[in-house]
């Protein structure tokens, strides 16, 4: 018979197993944080970037690492768990130049 969640809370074996998983997960996170301080990301366009310079937590491939709080299942509320997008974006010429470069006339569905 499988255990219910309430039963698992009282099961010593399961609790130890669960705690071990939590420790392993935390160790994994700590290792990633330590790694970030010591390693670099090699970007084909931007060159070598120290991982520590990148705010979000990343591995050596530049992949963002999202760790969750084992208790809530949600992201840790830490600065390295956000991806920050700058609202600044390219600004374009408009007016006549816009129409000169881009063919914006309807030709078939007129």
């Amino acid at each position: 018979m499988p255990y219910t969640k309430e039963e698992l809370k009282k099961n010593e074996f399961y609790q130890k197993l669960h705690e071990q998983d939590r420790v392993d997960y935390q160790n994994n996170l700590q290792w990633a944080l330590k790694f970030q301080k010591e390693k670099d990301i090699v970007d084909p366009k931007l060159g070598i970037i120290p991982i520590s310079k990148t705010k979000p937590l990343r591995n050596e491939g530049g992949v963002f690492l999202a760790y969750e709080d084992p208790d809530t299942g949600l992201n840790y509320e830490r600065p390295d768990q956000y991806i920050t997008v700058d609202k600044k974006s390219p600004v374009y010429y408009r007016g006549d130049l816009w129409n000169t470069i881009l063919d914006r006339e309807f030709k078939e569905l007129t």
């Binding site: 366009k45 931007l46 992949v63 963002f64 999202a66 760790y67 969750e68 299942g73 949600l74 992201n75 768990q81 956000y82 991806i83 920050t84 997008v85 700058d86 609202k87 600044k88 974006s89 390219p90 600004v91 374009y92 010429y93 408009r94 007016g95 006549d96 130049l97 816009w98 000169t100 470069i101 881009l102 063919d103 309807f106 030709k107 078939e108 569905l109």
Partner: protein, 633 residues
């Protein structure tokens, strides 16, 4: 610099992107900044590492501040079911303009179909109506089947969206159409898609009565006669007025009326020195030869006199025509010495700031040759021991330069002259040279070479070409009296003459059987170069003269201009010049447009696209080139 995700291709992106970055929506049609509008949302797509699409979702816990948006990819992934693994996540930042990913239930009321019965009030603006679903999945009005067994009203299930009515054959155009949903809000949203900037109309109407009469909502006016500011006089309380989103938009004023005029009297004061200018008074021409007979070589004085005998006002302008082909500006009294005989019709054009008059000498002035005038037919024609000979230059320009065959054009060692009446007559072509040799029995061995200074002692006579070789008075036996002397050109002129075509012919190319005579008949071709702005799109060509200005809405104008460099010298926007056959000319088109580095040379008319505005042209015929300026694409 990272490449920003955009729907523009790389070339268009480069052309349209301004310097620097900006936050969209601070004003104008995108106002407000993303994240500050109730309809803003963030969508994300999840892909495997092999770029295969897996799932989409709406991000609900992103954080927004003035300059940044903080995303939590971990939460987003977990929300859509991805709890572990490696994924690619792409985020899209949207603002809902029309429609929604929602369902509405519609019904038919009377003769109106598509009336919304129930839907998300956030989008429909209508309260939700009761409905139920039967076992077959059909939807009906009400909370359940009627107890009396009456037939329930079935509802239509529709997506609160618009559909693609048609796709063009080239797959670049789509036509959207609304569904049969009879709801003003739904239709208005669809209409608003036509103008991304939105259209604002002030709330207008008659308001409360005051002492001065009723107030009129929506009334606006310019700040003053000389001010472009435009503002409301009265605005309804529910009217939001001009919002930031309308900055950069177009203001259209309907039913504008002129309600009065303001007379502005300019401030003037009379110039004390000003006086009404009189018309040109009656003027006659008188000469110091009242009998009307004068001779060459003797100065003749002409005087413009008023009726009272006084000389005409010197403040006026006098343009004299002496009847011999010579005209010049001068004073009311002027002197001219004639060199040819004949009856001279003398006149003067008199100009004042407001008037013009032409006065003619009453009777033509008769000019005869003076007895001591060397040009007189009665005087003996000059002669030379070389008369009847064909001469040519010895080619030594080291100390005395190079003689000229006519003004500004150097002779070459192949240039031939026929000496007649002490004048040298340039023989313009190999054909004429051969004809002359035939007529006069002159073979090439009898040609005489002269050094520069000696050749320069012979005045220039009329050239010998196909039309004049046998005719009088420039025929071969007529005396020549109206020649003129020409000095040498310096070494540079000498070089150009030698290099331009004399190398090939030796010393007697004029006798060449082929008829080619580069020494005596140098061919010139015309080079014409222009530069135009090509305003056509794609591969079309619509020339526009330079300079040309393109206005940009809210941005600095584009001033398109370019100039031509010929052999390194700026010659402006067009160029016409004659060149000796075989000569090479270096041409360069230089873009001088604003903004810099945006426009440039894109090719020559009639040729393919090229971005190299330099060209070395060999003159092998008349050349007509037009350069095209455009944004290189």
């Amino acid at each position: 610099m990272p490449r920003y995700r955009t729907k523009l291709n790389d070339k268009d992106f480069k052309l349209l992107k301004k310097e620097g970055m900006g936050i969209l929506g601070e004003s104008g049609h995108l106002f407000p900044i993303f994240g500050n509008h109730i309809e803003d949302f963030v969508k994300f797509n999840v892909y495997g590492l092999d770029d295969i699409y897996l799932k989409s979702g709406i991000s609900e816990d992103f954080e927004n501040d003035d300059n940044n948006i903080k995303l939590k990819p971990g939460n987003d992934l977990r929300k859509v079911g991805f709890t572990r693994g490696d994924y690619k996540v792409k985020y899209f930042f949207y603002r809902r303009l029309a429609g929604a990913d929602e369902i509405v239930l519609t019904k038919t009321v009377g003769d109106q179909s598509g009336v919304v019965h129930s839907g998300n009030p956030k989008f429909t603006g209508e309260p939700m109506g009761d409905f139920y679903v039967d076992d077959d999945g059909k939807v009906f009005q009400g909370n359940g089947p009627a107890g009396d067994g009456s037939e329930p009203s079935e509802l239509d299930v529709k997506e609160y969206k618009f559909f693609i009515d048609k796709i063009s054959a080239n797959k670049k155009e789509v036509r959207l159409a609304p569904q049969s949903i009879n709801l003003d809000k739904y239709k208005d949203e669809f209409s608003s898609l036509y103008t991304s900037d939105g259209v604002y109309k002030p709330v207008s109407g008659i308001g409360d009565f005051t002492d001065g009469g009723p107030t009129v909502s929506g009334e606006a006016k310019f700040n003053s006669a000389d001010n472009t500011g435009f503002k409301f006089v009265t605005k309804d309380g529910t009217d939001p007025g001009f919002l930031k989103k309308y900055i950069g938009g177009t203001l259209e004023i309907e039913n504008a009326f002129i309600v009065g005029y303001t007379n502005q009297v300019p401030t003037t004061e009379e110039n004390p020195d000003w006086s009404l200018e009189d018309p040109i008074p009656p003027i006659t021409i008188e000469t110091n030869y009242p009998d009307g007979n004068a001779t060459t070589g003797t100065p003749v004085t002409f005087t413009a006199n008023r009726e009272n005998g006084n000389i005409a006002p010197s403040q006026l302008s006098y343009y004299w025509d002496f009847g011999c082909g010579h005209q010049e500006f001068g004073e009311p009294e002027i002197t001219h010495t004639y060199t040819i005989n004949g009856n001279m019709n003398v006149s003067v054009v008199i100009n004042s700031p407001n008037f013009v008059d032409t006065v003619i000498l009453d009777n033509p002035l008769s000019i005869s040759y003076s007895t001591d005038d060397s040009d007189s037919p009665t005087a003996p024609a000059p002669s030379s021991p070389l008369d009847g000979k064909i001469i040519y230059w010895d080619g030594d320009s080291s100390t005395q330069g190079t003689p000229q065959k006519h003004s500004g054009v150097a002779v070459t060692i192949n240039t031939r002259f026929y000496v007649q009446s002490g004048h040298r007559r340039w023989i313009t072509s190999g054909y004429n040279l051969g004809l002359l040799r035939e007529l006069r029995g002159l073979d090439s061995d009898s040609d005489i070479d002269l050094y520069t200074d000696l050749m320069n002692t012979l005045p220039i006579g009329p050239q010998i070409d196909g039309l004049t070789i046998t005719g009088a008075p420039t025929g071969l036996d007529e005396p020549i009296t109206d020649g003129y002397l020409l000095g040498s050109l310096d070494d540079s002129g000498d070089d150009s003459g030698d290099d331009s075509g004399d190398d090939s012919g030796g010393d007697d190319s004029g006798d060449d059987d082929s008829g080619d005579d580069s020494g005596t008949q140098e061919t010139f071709y015309t080079l014409s170069v222009g530069v135009k702005y090509n305003s056509a799109s794609g591969n079309g060509y619509t020339p526009v003269s330079l300079p040309y200005t393109i206005s940009n809405e809210g941005d600095p104008d584009h001033d398109i201009d370019a100039y031509i460099k010929i052999d390194g010298l700026n010659v402006g926007r067009s160029y016409n010049e004659s060149y000796l056959a075989g000569e090479t000319v270096d041409i360069e088109i230089v873009d001088d447009s604003f903004p810099t580095n945006l426009y440039g040379f894109v090719g020559w008319v009639g040729s393919g696209t090229s971005y190299d505005g330099t060209k070395t042209q060999v003159m092998s015929g008349n050349i007509n080139l037009t350069a095209k300026i455009k944004i290189p694409i």
